[in-house]
Symmetry: C2
Subunit: 111 residues, 2 copies
């Protein structure tokens, strides 16, 4: 499978984590080939931490492990989607359920 | 709002398009500051086409416009989420509803 995905010039591919129950988008992070392999081998989400430059097994420090229910990649192989069970129901370092919470107003009348 | 998001070294930020009705992830593409502004101004999704290096008003050639219902960015400002109404109910150039359709088997017993 790893041969079918396209890594960027840093060897990374974006991965979206989505709640498998209700479809809420919980976070977006980056994976390299090692984190993909670890995720598939263990069934728990592993990413590449760009800020700390190391393999990141999410939840090892705070218990907020992500159990991977389904693993997909997109039509052109440059995005990964993980459908996950978020242990603890908290994904964000802020303590929020999801990292995606800043709303921006769209200027035209809603259509 | 554009001051609150972080662009990468190419001036781009990933944007996830999600069906506003049922939460299906339809595609992931990239935006620059101009495409963000156009999206907010018009209420229709604009991206930056990396392959063609131009502003991409999705749907102008095939009618598959994306009406933006809600616009979000994440906790650290490096991902955008668009909740959209996909006109025609086809997002992918392949004719599929969503670009995300390649499933990969997870090796351990599903947990």
């Amino acid at each position: 499978m790893i041969e079918n995905v396209k890594f960027n010039e840093q060897g990374l591919i974006p991965a979206i984590a989505q709640d498998y129950r209700d479809g809420t988008i919980l976070m977006m992070a980056w994976m390299n080939s090692e984190s993909i392999q670890k995720t598939l081998d263990t069934g728990e989400a592993h990413y590449w931490s760009r800020s700390r430059s190391h393999l990141w097994h999410k939840g090892t420090t705070d218990g907020h492990i992500q159990k991977v229910k389904e693993f997909f990649y997109d039509c052109d192989g440059d995005t990964i989607l993980l459908k996950i069970e978020q242990i603890g129901d908290i994904t964000c370092h802020s303590g929020a359920r999801s990292c995606v919470f800043n709303a921006v107003e769209i200027l035209p009348t809603k259509s």
